[in-house]
Amino acid sequence: MSVDITRETLSKYKAVKTFHVQEKEVAPITSLTFDDHGKYLLTAAANDNMHLYDSISCKFLNTIGSKKYGCHSARFTHAQNECVYSSTMKSFDIRHLNLETNQYIRYFMGHGALVHDIQMSPLDDTFMSASYDESVRLWDLRNSKAQAIIPSLVPNCIAYDPSGLVIALGNPESMELALYNLKQLTKGPFLKVKIENGFKNWNKMEFSNDGKYLLLASSYGKHLIVDAFSGVQLFELVGTKPFPLREFMDGGSATFTPDGQYVLGTDYDGKIAIWNHSDSISNKTLKPLTFIPGAPDSCGRSIAMNPKFSMFVTADDNVDFYVFDDDK
C-alpha cells in the first residue's frame, strides 16, 4: 500500500527513532543522502565516520570508517554499493569508495581546499563539487581529473536540475545565482538572478523534482522559492525559529517533498514545519500549514526526505527518523 503526499498524510509523520553516538564521539553530522531508490541512508559526521542505515526499517547497518582522510559530503552514486565523499585530512581529494569490497575505486584530484558539497547528476555518472578553493568542478566517475571548472567565490552552493542538463551555482554573500547549460559552459550562464530583500544567509539550493521551483534554504528562519525558469522570486517561507549562527555548512534546513509540492523545514523550537507553495499564489510570504513534533532532546538542523518512501530524517548531533504512521 502506497502513501500519497498530501497535507493530511504529511501531518501524520512521527519521530520513531533517534540514533546517537557516545558522548566522546559526538560531532555534527554534515551530510545526509539517500540512494536513488530510497533504500539506504548515508550520513557523514565530523568525527570521521560515515554511517549507513536501512531507511525503510530505520535500522543502523554499518559504520564506514575514514579516520585517515576524514569525511564530508558523502553521496551515493547511482550504485547502492558506491559512494563519493570529500576528504578533510591529508588532501582534499574526493574519494570514490566501493562499499562491497571496502576498496577505493578512484581519487578525484585537483581541489586545493575543503570540498564542502558534492552533488550527483540525476542523469548520468557525473557529479560536481563546490570547494573553498573558489571553484566548482565537474567530474566523470571514470576519470580522476576534472572535466570542467567554474570560478566561484565562497561560500557557494550548487544544484542539478532534475533533467541533469542544467546546473545552478549560487553565491549567497553576493546574493546572486546563475544557471548553466552543461553543454555550453564556455558561453557562461544562460540566466543570472539577483536575490532581493537582502536574503544572503542561504546555504543550500535544491530544484523540485517537477523542475518548476528552486529552493534557497537557510538555517535562519527563512527560505526562498524562485521560479526555476525565470528566476523570479515566488515565495518566502517563514514561521520557524532560526538556529544559532554557524559558519560551516551542513545538509540544509529545508527540502522539497519528492513531488515538489511541499517544503519541509526544521525549526529550532524542535518541530518540523510544512509549507505548501504549489497551491499558493506567488509573491507571497507563506507560513507553515502545520508542524510535526520533533524528536525529544534532539536538535535536527539538517533535513532530507526519502525520494521513494514515506519517511524523512533530520540530523545534527543525532539522526532522527520520521515515518508516516496513521495508527491512532
Binding site: 502513501v3 565530523a46 567554474i150 557562461g188
Partner: protein
C-alpha cells in the same frame, strides 16, 4: 615470418607494468612467509589473483591474432607473449597456493549447535517455588530443583568481522574468564524493593567477571526435561558415564529468546542494590551491549514501533513529455553504467567497512591524459577571481567544524 629481434606486434595495453610486477614480487615473498594473513593481506591477495586472472584473459585476447604464421610477426613477439603469459601464470599459481594454504589452516573448528532455550518455565518454576517459601527464601532452598551451571554470554565483546564472537565463556573447564566490568549505576531505581530478598553475589574468582550462574535440574537431563543448556548440548560433551565425546560440527547457531516479562530478570552485582535490580529483557540486552566504538545507539521513540516506511505514491506526479530523469520521477532513463544488480536491492555490504578501506589499484593511463579541464565562464563577482588582483576580494577562511555548544531547543 620476420627475423627481427625486437617485438613489434604484441599488444601490451593490458599488460601489467613493471612497477606492479615488482610490487607483486615483493609481496609474494612476504605473503609466502606468513603463516596467517590479516584482513588487509588477504584482501591484497584476492585483488592480486583477480588482477592476474583478468590480465591473462585480456592479454591473450589482445594477442590472439599474433601467430607464428602471420605476416609481420617475429619470434621475439611469440617469445614475449609466451614469457609474459608464463610470468602471470606463475605468479597466479603461487598466489593461489598461498590462498589455499591459508584457507586450509584457517578452517575453523565448528562449535556445537546451540539450542534455543526457553528459560521461561524454568525461571517461573524457580520464582514460584521461592514465593511459596515466603520471604528470605534463598536460591539454595532444598526444594528448588538442582540445576546445572549456565553462564550468560558476555555481550560486551566486540564483533570481529561482523560475526558474533563464539561464546568462549562456556565453562567446559569451568575456568573463570576476565570480563569487562560494567557499571549499572544508571539503572538503579530507589523504589525497587521486591518482597523476597534474594541476593546473588558474583561467585566468580575474577574481580572483573560478570558471569552469573543459573542452576538447572541436574537430574533432568533426559528428553522430558523442559530446561536445557543454552550454551551447549551436554549430551555432546559428556555421555552418561561422564566421558567426553568429540564435538560436533554444526553451523546453525540459535539465539536466546526472552519472553516479554518485566520481572523475568533480576541483576545483581557491584554498585547495585542488595535486593537486585529488576530489568526487562530489552534493558538487559542494552546493559550487556554498551556502545560499540563508532556506532550509534538506537533509541525507539514509539513503544513497540516495528513498522516499515511505506512506499510513496508517485505515479500520478510523473511528468510526461519532459526531460526529467527517471531518478527524479521523470521519463528519461538514467544513463548510468552501473549494472542493474547494483542499482537496487543490493545488500552485500562489506563486513569490514569500519576498517580502513584499501587503496585503489593504480591507474595505468593517468600520466597519458594531459588534457586540461574546460574553464567555464564566470558570472557576476566571480569574474573578479580571474583578474590578477582578484578585484581586491580577500581569501575566505575555511570554517572549522566544531561541536555545537547551544542547547537542542530554543527554550
Amino acid at each position: 615470418m620476420s627475423n627481427n629481434i625486437i617485438p613489434q606486434s604484441v599488444n601490451v595495453s593490458h599488460a601489467l607494468s613493471a612497477v606492479i610486477i615488482q610490487e607483486m614480487r615483493n609481496n609474494l615473498d612476504i605473503l609466502s612467509k606468513r603463516e596467517q594473513l590479516n584482513a588487509t593481506e588477504e584482501n591484497l591477495l584476492v585483488s592480486y589473483i583477480s588482477q592476474l586472472n583478468q590480465t591473462i584473459i585480456d592479454f591473450n585476447n589482445d594477442n590472439k591474432d599474433v601467430k607464428i604464421d602471420k605476416e609481420g610477426v617475429t619470434m621475439a613477439d611469440i617469445e614475449l607473449i609466451k614469457g609474459l603469459t608464463a610470468l602471470y601464470q606463475d605468479y597466479l599459481g603461487k598466489f593461489n597456493e598461498i590462498q589455499q594454504r591459508i584457507h586450509k589452516e584457517n578452517k575453523p573448528v565448528r562449535k556445537e549447535r546451540r539450542q534455543s532455550v526457553n528459560l521461561d518455565e524454568g525461571v517461573r518454576a524457580l520464582h514460584e517455588s521461592t514465593n511459596q517459601k515466603g520471604e528470605n527464601t534463598t536460591i539454595k532452598n532444598k526444594n528448588v530443583p538442582k540445576i546445572k551451571d549456565i553462564y550468560i554470554a558476555d555481550g560486551t565483546k566486540k564483533k570481529q568481522d561482523n560475526i558474533p564472537i563464539e561464546d568462549t565463556t562456556i565453562p567446559e573447564t569451568k575456568e573463570e574468564l576476565n570480563k569487562k566490568k560494567i557499571s549499572f549505576d544508571k539503572y538503579k531505581k530507589k523504589d525497587d524493593s521486591p518482597n523476597d530478598t534474594l541476593k546473588r553475589s558474583n561467585s566468580s574468582d575474577s574481580e572483573d567477571s560478570i558471569t552469573k550462574k543459573i542452576k538447572l535440574d541436574t537430574n533432568e537431563t533426559n528428553s522430558n526435561s523442559k530446561i536445557r543448556s543454552i550454551l551447549k548440548n551436554p549430551n555432546d560433551i559428556m555421555d552418561s558415564e561422564g566421558s567426553e565425546v568429540p564435538k560436533r560440527r554444526n553451523k546453525k547457531k540459535l539465539s536466546i529468546k526472552f519472553p516479554e516479562e518485566d520481572d523475568l530478570v533480576r541483576v545483581y552485582g557491584e554498585d547495585l542494590p542488595n535486593e537486585g535490580l529488576k530489568v526487562t529483557a530489552v534493558e538487559l540486552k542494552k546493559i550487556l551491549r554498551p556502545f560499540r566504538e563508532g556506532e550509534p545507539n538506537e533509541k525507539v521513540l514509539i513503544l513497540g514501533f516495528r513498522s516499515r516506511a511505506k512506499p510513496l505514491n508517485l505515479s500520478n506526479i510523473r511528468v510526461k513529455d519532459s526531460d526529467i530523469s527517471d531518478t527524479r520521477n521523470g521519463p528519461i532513463k538514467c544513463q548510468t553504467a552501473t549494472p542493474i544488480l547494483y542499482r537496487d536491492n543490493f545488500k552485500s555490504f562489506s563486513k569490514d567497512l569500519n576498517k580502513p578501506p584499501r587503496e585503489p589499484i593504480p591507474e595505468l593511463n593517468n600520466n597519458q591524459d594531459k588534457s586540461s579541464p574546460l574553464v567555464a565562464q564566470a558570472y557576476g563577482r566571480n569574474g573578479l577571481l580571474l583578474r590578477n588582483d582578484r578585484g581586491g576580494i580577500p581569501y575566505k577562511r575555511v570554517p572549522e567544524v566544531k561541536r555545537n555548544t547551544y542547547p537542542p531547543r530554543a527554550n
